[in-house]
């Protein structure tokens, strides 16, 4: 802790100096002012991680205490005991053995897990499911804006969270951040970058000829400046994509560095891929285990990278839907409905399983096939963001998650 405090003391003046220089150099860049949270109040951070491909919640957080679990899962069922035993949570639910960091955070009261959760979407298309999850709309359709973008747009303008925009990590920003409010972009650097003079000239040209490109370029400039000051500049790195443990770690490190910066965005979204486990899913070991290990490593990277602000942070991990309760004909699982969501961070009122468990008997399953959803993921999201950012119910119900007036935000998720 002493080291961290020293670091902050030492870095702040130089950051100021560099900001000044950057502001002079990049006319198209905006120079944010520092805004320290007033004593006693919170300067919250919120990161949304979307797992694309529909995470198997029954493997990630196996209900080993349910008498029907082992029979449904056959060869990929996880066990309480043995060499690859699942990690205990509350005696009924366990955690996949590839996630020791999450188990530790849960035990220390910094993580909660929501089970049997889903959005309002009940079909089984990944792409529609992701659109619903990210747009915050009641159903699929061609949607222009995401709920995190509308959340930012609903906050008071000025010096606060809204002024800093929402960060979309990756070359293609996730739908959840797209919209009218400013979007910042960042992706792990993989090649040498263009010089500032070329960017300045293109900024001028776009300003005269192409407002759309001008806007994109000026928004890209915002994170560029922060990234350079945090030493994330032009280093050329290779490595795996967002479906590998290595890629997840690099993406998480970068997002944490940007969100942790004094003048960085307070809200970010990123996506990890590869969760569509139709065949050879594996149990305690195998394909899904490797992905869960990657996610667990990313959570550790968030914790390390956001250490000074970890107590103000909530990381929410969600996926478009779950998978079939029963293992399929190829030792994998097909598209299902209910799944899990994770809430991780020092601001989480943690150490809790949040689940109205529907059971796994055939007649208890959704369409006799999938884990029945009993908690709406939008109620969880509404609960987290209303407590973190002080948004009122009507704004959440009308603007951020339209048509959800009847869906009360889940209270008491943030401590």
């Amino acid at each position: 802790m002493v080291d961290d405090d020293d670091d902050c003391e030492r870095m702040t003046p130089s950051r100021r100096a560099m900001l000044g220089a950057a502001g002079a150099l990049f006319a198209w860049s905006f120079v944010p002012k520092f805004a320290y949270a007033a004593a006693g109040s919170r300067d919250p951070r919120f990161l949304l991680v979307v797992l694309r491909g529909a995470l198997d919640g029954l493997s990630a957080v196996p209900p080993i205490g349910d008498p029907d679990y082992a029979g449904l899962r056959e060869d990929i069922a996880l066990m309480r005991d043995g060499p690859d035993a699942a990690l205990p949570l509350d005696g009924f639910f366990y955690l996949h053995p590839a996630m020791p960091n999450l188990a530790r955070l849960y035990a220390s009261g910094q993580a909660s897990i929501v089970h049997a959760a889903a959005t309002g979407y009940r079909e089984r298309s990944h792409f529609d499911g992701q659109d619903v999850l990210e747009s915050g709309q009641a159903g699929p359709g061609r949607t222009e804006s995401g709920w995190l973008n509308r959340l930012i747009a609903s906050l008071p303008p000025g010096e606060g969270v809204s002024r800093r925009g929402v960060l979309g990590v990756g070359v293609v920003p996730p739908l959840v951040v797209r919209g009218e409010a400013p979007i910042l972009g960042w992706a792990p650097p993989r090649m040498a970058r263009a010089g500032p003079d070329l960017i300045q000239r293109l900024g001028d040209l776009y300003g005269q000829r192409d407002p759309g490109l001008a806007r994109a370029l000026s928004q890209a400039g915002l994170t560029e400046g922060i990234a350079q000051r945090r030493g994330m500049g032009s280093e050329v790195r290779g490595g795996g994509g967002p479906d590998s443990a290595d890629g997840m770690k690099r993406i998480a490190e970068g997002a944490a560095a940007l969100v942790g910066a004094d003048d960085g965005p307070r809200i970010a979204a990123l996506a990890f891929e590869g969760w569509d486990t139709h065949a050879n899913e594996g149990g305690a070991k195998g394909r899904l285990a490797q992905l869960l290990g990657g996610l667990d490593g990313a959570l550790a990277s968030f914790e390390a990278g956001l250490k000074p602000v970890w107590n103000d942070t909530v990381v929410m991990v969600v996926t478009e839907f779950g998978r079939t309760a029963k293992v399929n004909g190829t030792v994998g699982t097909d598209h299902g409905t209910g799944t899990v969501a994770f809430l991780v961070g020092g601001a989480v009122k943690g150490g809790r399983m949040i689940a109205d468990w529907p059971g796994l008997k055939l007649e208890q399953l959704h369409e006799k096939r999938d884990l029945k959803p009993t908690t709406d993921i939008r109620a969880v999201a509404k609960g987290v963001v209303s407590e973190l950012f002080g948004l009122s119910g009507p704004v959440l119900a009308e603007k951020v998650f339209p048509g959800t007036g009847g869906l009360a935000p889940l209270a008491g998720l943030v401590g």
Binding site: G53, F127, E144, V171, G185, L198, D243, T330
Partner: protein
């Protein structure tokens, strides 16, 4: 008798439907632009990529299995050597301890400790590289490139992902050559069947593993269905997600196409790695799809179902929307969509007729250029404009960075097709980095970037871009400005 505005619209049309102007090519090709594009349809056949090590799937399959067998025996030999070393060490513990501690890397007796020679990439990667290079060369050599653009479109519609396995990586190029390219100006139904029965697709979406529960193999092994391919046929390849099917249709289509699989290394049902219908995996019976039972024998069952899906009105609408969105505007003009869908229905999916209707529509031809070129389009257009012949690394490096390497989409829905994806802040910023690199590499071969810009952008060139290029601080920067200008980026 072209008026100035016609010259401009010809230029927009060539960028919209083609691959961009080659250096020195542009003034001539702008004359009669629409007729040139239409002539590609009249020729009906597209050239095949040249200079490939394998002619097709069956040859590739045999090579892949031989490669995997060699890999396996190599691994087994290494394991055996390690095991015998361990035995020796265990039998002589005193000796092992008496040896002075040496750095592990200097013990030459272990084959594992020796540095590996800087190896050629393994066969699947090597083949993937050659296929990518051959495909890009073909696009660089095309006159207008409408046919190649259609190959990109359909290859993305029926995409496979090369990162799934050795098999899809080594066959991704052959898949496009065999299942997509021959049918671009043919019938949709034929492309559909070719795609769904190709080994690369059967592997990518797991149908090779799917077994009918009541089939002979299903009863014996207790394994069963995998719905993955069936779902994506309905959702992504034919009807579209709102095309009016239910979960039961997904499961029944999965039953209908059980037995569509890939020949194994034992070559029981044909050439290794090629498509086969395996009756031993096929679910018996007549499962209904969209209310109609399919009781044909064997492979005929699936062919009948795919034929009906290909002719379904929802399929016509879905394809029309995707085509118009790809070529014309992110928000596709409804009248144009209706027109293309009507042609698709009337001709029962004659893709030459549908493509002709698109080119002949004034709405498609004269719309304002609002779409950003995709990364692949940008790369091809840039290399055409700069007159460069890239090697594999010069292709796959930039495409990886700007987000669209060949045949590697994140999911079976293919790469996105809209400005929200490609004109994002980070996307534009990364494109500038790439363009800066290309400007540096090409500057030595371009005498005057101002003349090149006049040649490539022609009637599209705005005074502002002309001035920006003229005032650039260096030749590389001038080229980067041309490549990143709105006139070059939008089509």
């Amino acid at each position: 008798m072209a008026s100035p505005s016609d010259a401009r619209s010809d230029s927009v049309g060539l960028q919209r439907f083609g691959l961009g102007f080659g250096v020195g090519q542009s003034p001539a090709i702008r004359v009669g632009a629409r007729d040139r594009l239409l002539a590609e349809i009249d020729r009906r056949a597209l050239p095949q990529p040249a200079g490939l090590p394998f002619s097709g799937t069956a040859e590739i399959g045999a090579a892949l299995y031989a490669f995997e067998d060699r890999e396996r025996s190599g691994r087994e030999a290494r394991r055996a050597a390690q095991a015998s070393e361990a035995q020796v060490a265990a039998a002589q513990p005193a000796l092992a301890q008496s040896v002075p501690a040496a750095p592990a890397s200097s013990t030459p007796q272990s084959p594992m400790a020796q540095p590996k020679p800087a190896a050629e990439p393994a066969l699947p990667y090597r083949t993937y590289r050659q296929e990518v290079l051959a495909r890009v060369r073909l696009a660089l050599d095309a006159e207008t490139g409408f046919g190649e653009r259609l190959v990109q479109f359909w290859s993305n519609h029926f995409c496979v992902g090369a990162t799934k396995s050795n098999l899809t990586r080594i066959m991704a190029g052959a898949y496009e050559r065999e299942a997509i390219r021959p049918h671009v100006f043919g019938r949709f139904e034929e492309m559909l069947v070719a795609a769904e029965s190709h080994p690369a697709m059967l592997d990518f979406l797991d149908n090779r593993l799917s077994i009918g529960p009541s089939s002979p193999a299903g009863k014996r092994r207790g394994r069963g269905l995998n719905e993955n391919l069936a779902r994506e046929i309905l959702e992504l390849h034919t009807l579209g997600v709102s095309g009016g099917y239910a979960q039961v249709d997904v499961t029944n289509l999965a039953r209908i196409i059980t037995g569509w699989t890939v020949v194994g290394r034992e070559a029981v049902l044909g050439f290794p790695g090629s498509f086969a219908f395996n009756a031993g995996l096929h679910e018996p019976g007549a499962p209904p799809l969209l209310g109609k039972p399919y009781g044909q024998p064997g492979k005929e069952k699936g062919l009948a179902a795919l034929g009906d899906l290909a002719r379904h009105p929802a399929t016509a609408d879905f394809i029309a929307i995707k085509l118009v969105r790809h070529f014309v505007a992110d928000d596709p003009p409804p009248a144009l969509v209706r027109a293309l869908s009507a042609v698709f229905r009337r001709t029962e999916g004659d893709l030459a007729a549908v493509s002709r209707a698109l080119l002949e529509s004034d709405a498609a031809w004269r719309a304002e250029p609002t779409k950003i070129r995709s990364p692949q389009e940008f790369l091809i257009a840039a290399f055409r404009a700069l007159g460069r012949k890239p090697d594999f690394g010069q292709i796959i490096g930039p495409l990886g960075v700007i987000g669209q390497p060949l045949w590697q989409p994140a999911g079976p829905n293919g790469y996105p097709d809209g400005n929200e994806a490609w004109a994002s802040p980070e996307g534009i910023k990364t494109r500038i980095d790439v363009a800066a690199g290309w400007g540096r590499q090409a500057a030595g071969n371009v005498p005057d970037p101002r003349l090149l810009t006049e040649d490539i952008l022609g009637p599209l060139l705005s005074p502002e871009t002309r001035q920006a290029v003229a005032r650039a601080e260096s030749r590389p920067q001038a080229l980067a400005l041309m490549l990143m200008s709105p006139e070059f980026q939008r089509r």
